[in-house]
């Protein structure tokens, strides 16, 4: 008789072991603290093809500064606290909750448990401490370091437990929570050794094999083809689910194609090579709108962006190398009535209509209507008035000679140049309109079109310019990132750089207001302070704000959960929720 006992025993053991293993796995999974994403429940599968204007310079979040790198990082990495790009408010991410001490100096973050990096290794508080140690290390010179300095001193972090960290500030900081957005958490298990060896700045280059890179984002690196493309694949350990409990992301892959110009992007989108477009001009919007239905895509006009374009005059203390004529011209520029007259003479509606084909918003202040939380809606919007402009100039001592040319009190004709960036056609067009507008009040304006580097060199270093047209903004809605523009010692205080003390009483007031709003923790009070700043800027016009272009986006009609935002990364901010509908009229990939 053959012995059947061992076989029966084996089968019984199998019946015990298998469920136990399954229970262990589900136990591990059930210990994962997922973030449940709001959005429609979609289906798995498919590939999304998106463009980048240039190749990323690196895959290392510690050293990257360029926009393409940061766009890719947004998919590979995750942050502790995230700014929802639609509501513009902070919400939990890797940190599931946080508490703020009464004095506003200590933030205790509780991290999600059970989260793993894309290589399967667990994430905990030691990774957070390591991350900030690296970013704050002055020897590394990470660009992130500047963002983590508050009141002149870097923030500090300490570990309170395996899933609890405390951040300490030396002074209260109103936008502290927003500080953590896009600060990518690094894997200690992969980078600590390089950090100790002093080689962390050289790690994770474009040549690094994908299996040596890990992050907490929805995707991980699959393949990089130099000069052509970067392919990311789904992160199987991602810590977000949809409302039905399905682990995100839905997409199998995101494929970045290198497409160097906007026009090439539009052509490739129209031909089906690309699935979405993040930002393009109003002119191309009109081209795309003609074939929406037949080519199966949808266009989105999200209204005013956060970018503000402006004209400003050179009020800097001039070095000896600059022509003496500029010193005389500065007596005009420094008179607020002159600047107000220029502002009054500019036809902003024409800029909106002719340069942006109606897809822009005229501005009289530095905060655009796209900024729902901080715009001062009480700032007046005076219509264009040549009479008002002339009255202001008369009050400032100017007059007109017999040929209609504006002259100052010494009889010197008012003539100056405006710098513009030759590679930015919209700003060049704006300058052409301004030239024509100012001609109508007797000013003789020349347009000097330079390559961007030469232009910045004149504005930031040599100060050899009279006026310029530029644009700022776009990063975040909070006033904090604008600090360097409005503080008199700020690095982008464009009209008067390098001030050791404020040159005017209103600039001193701007300094005081910026410092005050940074430490005012209650939103309504902070808003009032920032409203006052906007009012002063609108009155003194150090920057003559002109227009804010609308944020425009496009995507295949069957791309589900596509909800582009005016904040970067625009259409990709919720990439983990994007999915392909199996619609009859679309292409499912």
């Amino acid at each position: 008789m053959r012995c059947v006992m061992p076989r029966l025993l084996a089968v019984h053991c199998l019946f015990i072991i298998l469920p136990a293993a399954a229970m262990a796995q589900s136990s591990a999974q059930s210990h994962e603290e997922f973030l449940v994403a709001r959005g429609k429940v979609g289906g798995l599968g498919g590939r999304l093809v998106v463009s980048l204007r240039t190749e990323p310079k690196t895959l290392n979040p510690v050293t990257a500064l360029d926009q393409p790198s940061r766009t890719v990082f947004a998919l590979l990495n995750a942050d502790l606290v995230h700014i929802n790009r639609v509501t513009q408010l902070t919400e939990p991410a890797l940190a599931k909750s946080w508490k703020v001490s009464r004095d506003g100096l200590h933030y205790t973050l509780t991290l999600r448990r059970g989260v793993r990096f894309s290589d399967g290794q667990p994430f905990d508080a030691s990774d957070v401490v390591f991350t900030f140690q690296v970013y704050l290390d002055p020897k590394i010179e990470s660009p992130q370091r500047d963002l983590l300095i508050v009141g002149g001193k870097p923030i500090s972090v300490r570990q309170l437990g395996p899933y609890k960290v405390e951040f300490n500030f030396t002074q209260r900081y109103a936008p502290a929570e927003r500080l953590f957005d896009s600060v990518d958490i690094l894997p200690r298990h992969l980078l600590e050794k390089d950090y100790q060896n002093g080689t962390i700045a050289q790690t994770w280059s474009l040549n690094t094999p994908p299996n040596q890179i890990a992050g907490l984002g929805p995707f991980r690196l699959k393949q990089y083809v130099p000069g052509q493309s970067i392919t990311l694949e789904r992160n199987p350990y991602y810590w977000k689910t949809d409302s039905a409990g399905n682990r995100l992301p839905y997409l199998d892959e995101v494929h970045f194609l290198i497409v160097p110009t906007e026009d090439a992007e539009v052509i490739r989108f129209q031909s089906g090579d690309l699935d979405l477009l993040n930002g393009f001009s109003a002119g191309n919007y009109a081209v795309l709108s003609r074939q929406q239905a037949e080519r199966g895509y949808r266009l989105y006009d999200l209204g005013p962006s956060l970018v503000y374009n402006f004209l400003f005059f050179n009020l800097n203390d001039l070095p000896a190398s600059v022509p003496s004529q500029l010193t005389q011209e500065q007596t005009w520029f420094r008179d607020v009535r002159f600047r107000q007259a220029v502002s009054a003479a500019i036809d902003r509606d024409a800029i909106v209509r002719l340069v942006y084909q109606g897809r822009a918003t005229p501005l009289w202040g530095n905060v655009t209507p796209g900024n729902k939380l901080w715009m001062n809606r009480a700032i007046p919007h005076p219509p264009r008035s040549l009479d008002n402009a002339k009255a202001l100039l008369r009050a400032a001592g100017f007059s007109w000679n017999t040929s209609g040319t504006l002259v100052d009190s010494h009889g010197t004709p008012v003539e100056f140049s405006i710098l513009t960036n030759s590679s930015n056609s919209e700003r060049t067009q704006i300058t052409t309109l301004i030239q024509n507008d100012l001609q109508q009040i007797g000013m003789n304006v020349h347009i000097v079109s330079l390559d961007f580097r030469s232009m910045l060199d004149r504005i930031f270093h040599t100060f050899n310019y009279e006026a310029a047209v530029l644009g700022l903004g776009g990063g975040d809605v909070d006033p904090a990132p604008e600090i360097n523009v409005w503080m008199s010692d700020g690095s982008t205080h464009l009209w008067h750089l390098g001030e050791k003390t404020p040159a005017t009483s209103w600039e001193a007031e701007l300094d005081r207001l910026m410092r005050q709003q940074l430490v005012t923790m209650v939103y309504s009070k902070r808003k009032k302070i920032y409203d006052r700043l906007q009012q002063i800027v609108a009155e003194q016009v150090p920057l003559i704000c002109l227009v804010s272009p609308n944020t425009l986006a496009a995507a295949r009609a069957n791309l589900g959960n596509f909800q582009p935002s005016i904040l970067p990364p625009y259409g990709l901010w919720n990439v983990e929720q994007l999915y392909w509908r199996q619609a009859g009229n679309g292409n499912s990939r």
Binding site: A286, V287, Q357, T428, Q429, H446, D451
Partner: protein
């Protein structure tokens, strides 16, 4: 006879083009900088002889354009009132050769209505007027650059060819250096270092000067070769034997032999330098707004939406075709005559 016809046809064509461009104020109905902001990218006005009621008019007419709200961004003709086109009308004031002023224009629409032969640009400026004024800038730049390069090239090439030896070696190495120069980057550098207060005229002259100074090398090499050949001819040797000085030999015997070659070279260089100016202005390195040149008129075509939506913005490119064709025909005829004279 046929060949003479070609020569005279080319000459007539070029004379006609240059005449248009010497007196752009008269032939252009509007000032090149006058903006009509309500008519951005308006298409060319249609010329009619038969109105909507079917009545034929002896005088051509057009209809006013109005915005087509149903076809966003487009225009339609308001067909209720025909607007006659008249010749020799009074309009905006302009200067003739910088000396005289006039307000007489070759044609225009009645009253305050507008007639745009080649449509308008983004700021509602008449494209036809800008093509005429722009041609003046581009062609003048080409002519000045050609003159400069030929004068410089002739002097240096003649010296190199006549004296030979170390001066020849030195000058020809200079030629090679200039031929190797990346002139575009040189111009970028020059443009970035220009003072802010440089008038349009100065920018234009500087541009022409740089083109001419960079372009002397090829004529110099050609002249050198010719001089090397001519100086060995019997009559030159005889004159030298009779005690003629170097200057006399060059002036009386050698350089006159080069005149036809230089003329042919000029016919080849003018379109090349015009194209160089067009290229520079296309890239934003030429004269600045609002002054037009053929290059900066074409610059808007770098934008995809303009290229695909507003076909009339290609007119400046079409105008270049007869211009280059005329000069090519002229150069070919002159070269043929030179070779016939030689043999």
């Amino acid at each position: 006879m046929k060949r003479n016809l070609k020569f005279w046809a080319a000459s007539a064509l070029l004379a006609g083009i240059h005449l248009l461009l010497i007196f752009p104020g008269f032939f252009a109905p509007y000032d090149y900088s006058a903006q009509n902001r309500e008519f951005s990218y308006a298409p060319p006005s249609r010329l009619h002889f038969v109105d909507r009621a079917g009545k034929t008019h002896f005088r051509p007419f057009t209809y006013a354009l109005v915005r087509d709200d149903q076809n966003s961004g487009g225009y339609v003709e308001a067909s209720n009132k025909p607007i006659p086109i008249r010749f020799f009308v009074r309009g905006s004031s302009y200067s003739i050769l910088g000396i005289f002023r006039s307000s007489l224009h070759s044609f225009g629409a009645d009253t305050s209505a507008k007639f745009w032969l080649m449509g308008t640009d983004q700021f509602g400026r008449d494209e036809f007027s800008r093509v005429l004024y722009g041609g003046r800038i581009s062609i003048l730049a080409g002519l000045i650059a050609t003159l400069l390069s030929l004068i410089l090239g002739t002097i240096l090439g003649a010296l190199a060819g006549f004296y030979s030896g170390w001066s020849d070696v030195l000058l020809m190495r200079g030629v090679e250096l200039f031929l190797a120069l990346p002139w575009l980057y040189l111009l970028l550098t020059v443009r970035a270092s220009l003072p802010l207060h440089i008038s349009t005229i100065d920018t234009f002259l500087l541009l022409a000067a740089v083109l001419g100074l960079v372009g002397w090398a090829r004529p110099a090499r050609l002249v050198r070769g010719m001089v090397l050949s001519v100086k060995e001819r019997n009559y030159v040797q005889s004159a030298r034997g009779f005690g003629a000085s170097d200057v006399y030999l060059l002036r009386r015997h050698i350089l006159p032999q080069l005149s036809s070659v230089l003329l042919t070279q000029a016919a080849l260089l003018v379109p090349q330098f015009v194209l160089a100016e067009v290229t520079l202005s296309f890239l934003g390195l030429g004269v600045s707004e609002p002054v037009p040149s053929w290059g900066n008129l074409l610059a808007c075509l770098q934008q995809y939406y303009v290229l695909t939506s507003y076909w009339w913005m290609l007119f400046p490119a079409l105008v270049l075709v007869p211009f280059f064709a005329g000069y090519q025909m002229l150069a070919a005829e002159l070269a043929r005559r030179n070779s016939a004279a030689t043999f």
